[in-house]
Amino acid sequence: MPTATYIQAINLALKEEMRRDPDVFVMGEDVAALGGAFKATDGILEEFGPARILDTPISEALIVGAGVGAAVQGLRPVVEMQFMDFAACGFDQIVNMAATARYRHGGALDVPLVIRGPSGGGVHGALFHSQDPEAWFTRVPGLKVVAPSTAADARGLLKAAIRDDDPVIFLEHKRLYRSVKEELPEEQEPEPLGRARLARAGSDISIVTYGGTVPLCLEAADRLAAEGVETEVVDLRTLLPLDRDAVRRTVAKTGKLLVVHEDRQTGGLGGEIVAWTVEHCWDLLDAPPQRVTALDCHTPFAPALEAYVLPGTDEIADAARRLAAY
């Protein structure tokens, strides 16, 4: 297989799952004839016909709700939010309808629904096309939340999400869509949800991260390596359920934890990871765990403002350096 971008990997996973299972179908705004705002669903209409991919009105509550209704009827819908920011318009259907369906039916229902779409900033999308909404969802039992950072993971994890019997929020960082390019294998099995990936091995400090900040952390790790500091980078990949064991393993190795995410700090996932580490891995720690995140602010438009608010490689490298020297 030639190289594929992150978005091509998503497109590939969708088509592969649609070929494998006639119950998989796609629904969203401008997904069919246009192939999606970012072309995630390009070519699906041509290959599978209009019974497998549906353009919907601009109705996010409907898109998610109808996804639930089709899922409980035995289909495996993959619904697109044109931008994940708009999930806010379908929020009730996600957190109250989809997430509780199995629970309130006493376990008698499966909800094999994937809600996917672009999230994240750094592309001057401004307030409503840049948000990192993961923490809206990571505290909702009944949901799973996935945020891949490589093309191979985007493909493998999306396959697993489609085959999963619970609702999955699948966050695709839009800055990675075309900046990430990899060689992909001809055939690829689903990548199990809930397991972190060791993105880089190291022995001095650990960075735990996911999604859009993974490439930045790897870049920072390269810089530190030149200075003699060996950084381990753990890519969480799935945010709910969280691979706490992977966090514990890397902390056991280095004793120093830096959590990095593009989402804002307060109420972000980093707080949970640090709290859990302090509660459960205290004896393994050689330094107070640190966080590098966006500022507690909206993601603004003007490049100078956006760069100021979002975490960048320099800040990650600085924090890592300080932690290594602690």
Binding site: P57, G65, G69, G107, A108, P241, R244, H280, C281
Partner: protein, 344 residues
């Protein structure tokens, strides 16, 4: 269609279901007054013809999306009365195994999807179920109930618009009982008939008396037939009235006695008795027999529910996911054996 052996059989079953619904709901109201039911109780007393008439002729694989006053619809759809009562009592044998209250538990085996509290939120879901039926050429229909109050929500608009665009096999049933909690219809909308909105979606709208079982059956038959024949969705509005307060805590002082008397005089049950009498039944006899039958059924349901165990506390963490997640690590209590051995 559902197999009734004859018209007589159907006429009597319909009567039985309305009487069962009323007996069941009245018992639930009493249990609530006696503090034997936790949580909110929303009585559909007076609206039995809607609940029964809309579901009587549905097939087992047709899926209904009942609202909080549609206990009768669930009974007609075949939900076991004992499990339903256990649901209201929060028992292990209830539809949601104690997870949620009142009518939020569904029964997929009988084509009943349990809603959330969010009014109108099941309409988009019903569209998805109808879409799945259409895509699979499955000849069944989805029936979604909502109140005239809920009709003000955006979900309702999104659902109706989508259903009409794709000619989905769905029937939207608006149970217009004139009040949304305390708010009269006139403060909810500036129109008299919610069904007027159907035209704006390019959908068929029908209005009918909701206390007239015959009219409900006839209207629903037309709407369901259209859905099954691929002619798309219908918005059916049934005019009715709730006798009791919004919930059992609500004395409903916001409405006049005159209104209540007027509507009580149009009660659906005596009306159906008149029909049965015209069909030559001995109504006194039928009533007597039916009342002892339904009282027995409700007694049995209550006995089953009360004898059922409460869920075990740790079952709170069950039914969250298809494959249970290990939620324990973040919840290891300090000093426990697990905490002592952690990290391993």
């Amino acid at each position: 269609m559902r197999s009734f052996t004859s018209r007589v059989d159907r006429d009597l079953k319909l009567y039985h279901w309305m009487k069962l619904t009323r007996e069941f709901e009245d018992r639930v109201s009493r249990l609530h007054a006696q503090n034997r039911i936790l949580g909110g109780v929303y009585s559909g007393r007076g609206q039995e013809a809607v609940a029964v008439g809309c579901c009587a002729d549905l097939e087992p694989a047709d899926v209904i999306f009942p609202l909080h006053r549609d206990l009768g619809a669930m009974l007609v759809k075949g939900v076991d009365p004992g499990r339903l009562m256990a649901q209201l009592l929060g028992k292990e044998t209830g539809l949601s195994r104690g997870k949620d209250s009142f009518l939020h538990g569904g029964d997929p085996a009988h084509g009943v999807f349990g809603g959330t509290s969010m009014l109108g939120a099941t309409l988009p879901v019903a569209c998805g179920t109808a879409l799945a039926m259409k895509l699979r050429r499955d000849p069944h229909v989805a029936v979604a109930f909502f109140g005239e109050g809920a009709s003000s929500r955006g979900d309702v608009h999104e659902a109706m618009n989508f259903a009409a665009v794709h000619a989905l096999p769905v029937v939207f049933v608006c149970e217009n009982n004139r009040y949304a909690y305390s708010t009269p219809q006139a403060l909810q909308m500036a129109i008299e008939d919610v069904a007027d909105r159907a035209a704006a979606y390019g959908m068929k709208g029908m209005v009918s008396g909701g206390n007239d079982l015959g009219a409900v059956l006839e209207t629903m038959a037309r709407a369901v037939r259209r859905a099954r024949e691929g002619l798309g969705p219908t918005l059916v509005e049934l005019k009715t009235y709730r006798y009791r307060g919004h919930s059992e805590h609500d004395p409903a002082r916001y409405r006049g006695e005159e209104e209540l008397i007027q509507w009580t005089s149009r009660d659906p049950i005596p009306r159906w008795e008149t029909y049965l009498a015209l069909r030559g039944h001995d109504v006194e006899k039928v009533r007597g027999e039916t009342e002892s039958e339904v009282a027995q059924l409700v007694d049995d349901a209550l006995a089953f529910a009360e004898a059922s165990p409460d869920p075990e506390p740790q079952e709170a963490l069950e039914d969250l996911y298809a494959t249970p997640l290990d939620v324990a690590p973040s919840a290891v209590p300090a000093g426990s054996e697990a905490a002592a051995s952690y990290p391993p």
